[in-house]
């Protein structure tokens, strides 16, 4: 009896210790999650606080008199005349109207520097498209120079240095008050390719480049990956060769992505003579990189199809092929799709292998096809982040947000597909 009681006492004491241990263990877990969440929130807060101004553009809206004499231009359709014409003069004249105190050639030049580099070509574009507008007054919206943009958006922010003279700052303040200089949603970001001028640079080229590259990657890695997984899981004989292939696929999943870039450089560009910087080569390289992920996740999905379903199909006389096509693949599809989308999301964020095959070039035009020079979102971010102009810093953060949006949507799609296609048995 006493024995039992003392034993109960021991158990009670040990219980306390066990509960303490359990609480501690739970605390560690919560701490880990807290740290992870906190770093994630910090990261997002930092990116958004730096990048949200990237979605804002600074514009100068002016009533410009397209005076033919001022521009030395008689026929806007004549390219020779256009190359000699002075398109800046009417803009400066229009600015001067808003700021009557500006006088002298020096001050005028200073005033002209408020305009973005491409203001002149905006006028020339208007006249090329509508030659009849010569010698009329038109309301035209110009992009302000990056210096103006930084001043308007970040005056007083110690991270940015203002590069306008005090006189220019006074002018900008006055124009802001008059509503000539204004800020609005940066549609340029989503409608243009890269540019030397931050105010003029957009991610559309990179988005299209990424999409083309991903299309190539998907078109190659999805069917090949699933075919490989189905063969290895369902048809391959169990022998040394199969084991060897399995081990190598698992190893490939762990190979640093830059090695795939080297492979692409040596094989696709060196051996096959494909052009550099094009989405086809990028897509091929990323497909090689994604294949192991897709094969491994597809095999796991095939393995998780209950053997009872296979037996059921075999039991009514389905051939091996019919079992696989009618039952195994449909049931494994959610898992295969999830794995593929996650692999694709990885590929979408991949930079290193693409640097090696030349997709890091400065490309202004939005690519029109698989064989056009292109860059991709992460490389664009890399390029902008390493750029010295202040305007590119916020653009890089804005591009990161665009990339993150794509990735989150892809992962959400994966979750949705899994929920949608998942069947119970």
């Amino acid at each position: 009896m006493t024995d039992q009681r003392s034993q109960a006492e021991i158990v009670r004491k040990s219980l306390k210790r066990r509960y303490r241990k359990e609480r501690r263990f739970r605390l560690y877990g919560m701490l880990a999650i807290f740290i992870a969440l906190a770093s994630l929130v910090t990261l997002f807060a930092d990116i958004i606080s730096k990048g949200h101004t990237g979605f804002v553009k600074t514009t100068i809206t002016l009533d410009v008199n397209l005076d033919s004499e001022l521009m030395y231009l008689e026929d806007p359709t004549d390219a020779d005349q256009r190359s000699m014409a002075d398109f800046v003069a009417p803009i400066v004249a229009a600015l001067q109207e808003q700021l009557p105190e500006v006088d002298g050639a020096g001050e005028k030049r200073e005033l002209g520097r408020l305009l973005g580099t491409y203001a002149a070509s905006e006028i020339s574009d208007v006249l090329i498209n509508n030659p009849e507008l010569l010698d009329t007054t038109q309301t035209i919206e110009f992009l302000a120079h990056d210096r103006v943009s930084v001043y308007v958006k970040h005056a007083g922010n110690p991270r940015y240095s203002i590069k306008l003279s005090e006189q220019q700052q006074r002018w900008v303040d006055e124009l802001l008050e008059k509503g000539v200089i204004d800020t609005s949603f940066n549609d340029v970001l989503f409608s243009r390719g890269d540019s030397r001028e931050p105010a003029n640079a957009g991610v559309l080229g990179a988005i299209v480049g990424s999409l083309l590259t991903m299309l190539v990657t998907l078109a190659i890695s999805f069917p090949v990956g699933i075919a490989a997984a189905v063969y290895l899981e369902e048809f391959a004989p169990e022998n040394k060769l199969t084991d060897f292939i399995e081990v190598n696929i698992n190893n490939l999943a762990a190979v640093p992505s830059i090695i795939f870039g080297l492979l692409g450089l040596a094989v696709f560009i060196g051996l096959f003579g494909m052009p550099r910087s094009v989405p086809v080569v990028g897509g091929l390289v990323l497909a090689l990189m994604t294949l192991p992920t897709i094969i491994i996740s597809s095999r796991a999905a095939i393995k998780s199809v209950p053997p009872s379903i296979r037996e059921a199909a075999e039991g009514v006389g389905a051939s091996k092929m019919q079992v696989v096509l009618h039952h195994v693949i449909p049931l494994a599809m959610p898992g295969m799709l999830t794995g593929s989308i996650i692999g694709m999301a990885q590929a979408l964020g991949e930079t290193a292998p693409l640097l090696l095959i030349g997709m890091v070039a400065f490309i202004v035009d939005v690519p029109g096809g698989f064989f056009d020079s292109a860059t991709v979102l992460p490389v664009q971010i890399y390029l902008w982040a390493s750029s010295s102009e202040q305007g590119f810093v916020e653009l890089a953060s804005a591009a990161i947000m665009v990339l993150l949006t794509f990735m989150i949507s892809m992962n959400a799609l994966a979750i949705w597909l899994r929920k949608r296609l998942e069947r119970r048995w």
Binding site: S308, E311, A312, A313, V316, G317, S319, R423, R424, W425
Partner: protein, 296 residues
């Protein structure tokens, strides 16, 4: 006491010791079984299956040791025996379901209507269309009830028109006693039915390809007594048109549904006889101790 003398068989041993000896001391494993020797009535005239000297091994493990038995036409035969005795393995040889297991090797003469089941030129698909199977756990496809039953006829091309297929589905569901419950929800997903209904659906699916033989691997072990009773009724009905081989853990079930019963022990076929004889007067001491519940 005779326990000191190894030359005396376990059966004699037990009789000598009488009823006072507790069950755990009774070790039927010690009983020497002569390989390939089956007592009772293993052979019949004009059999559906003629199985002679069948050996099955998984790698170096012998799962079936030299078994010879006949299975008659339109007969219900049940295989009983303790877990791991090889009855399921043996059942799966009859439509080559063991083929997918690479290390499994089947030897001996296995004839279905005088044709070799394991002949190298034998088409497994054709064999399985003739020898259908119902499994331990109900395993309907995660498709509609209609598609489940129609799957077999579709892949074998048994119906050319939709109306033919409809007829096959209805007939099969009727034979499986599921038509009344399922006719209004043929498009419903099959996995939403109760366990008993699912198992009857699996039977309907097996019937739909008009097999000659239906193999059942513990078809009721996952079902409640009421569902079990319905399946057993079904087996009785089906025995008129099919040869049925059923593996079961329930001796009551074997007694209720089967014409003959075969008792397996550690890969040996110990005894085969008419069901009432097996359960009333078993000839082999192992059979006796199993059916009286001494082990198993």
């Amino acid at each position: 006491m005779n326990t000191m003398n190894p030359s005396i068989s376990a059966k004699a041993d037990r009789r000598d010791q009488g009823a006072e000896i507790p069950v755990p001391q009774d070790k039927p494993e010690d009983t020497v079984i002569e390989e390939g020797k089956t007592v009772g009535k293993p052979f019949v005239n004009d059999p559906k299956f003629k199985l002679r000297n069948v050996n099955v091994s998984y790698g170096s493990d012998r799962a079936i040791k030299n078994i010879s038995i006949d299975i008659g036409k339109h007969e219900v035969i049940s295989f009983i025996g303790p877990s791991g005795c090889g009855k399921s393995t043996f059942l799966r040889c009859l439509n080559r379901m063991n083929d997918s297991i690479q290390i499994c090797r089947v030897e001996g003469q296995l004839m279905l209507d005088d044709e070799d089941i394991y002949h190298s030129k034998r088409d497994v698909v054709e064999l399985r269309a003739r020898v259908g199977m119902v499994f331990q756990k109900p395993n309907p496809f995660p498709k509609s009830i209609y598609d489940n039953v129609a799957y077999g006829p579709r892949i074998h091309g048994l119906a050319n028109r939709k109306s033919d297929l409809d007829e096959i589905v209805e007939n099969s569901l009727r034979k499986a006693g599921l038509w009344e419950e399922a006719k209004d929800r043929l498009d419903a997903i099959a996995t939403g039915m109760s366990g008993g209904q699912q198992q009857r659906l699996c039977i309907a699916r097996a019937i739909a390809v008009s097999p000659e033989v239906i193999l059942m691997d513990e078809p009721c072990s996952a079902l409640d007594p009421i569902a079990t009773a319905r399946i057993e009724e079904l087996i009785a009905d089906m025995s008129k048109s099919y040869t049925i081989v059923i593996v079961t853990h329930s001796m009551q079930q074997a007694a209720r549904v089967s014409d003959r019963t075969a008792y397996f022990h550690l890969g040996h076929l110990v005894e085969v006889n008419e069901t009432n004889k097996i359960f009333t007067s078993p000839q082999h001491e192992l059979t006796e101790s199993y059916i009286t519940g001494r082990f198993g």
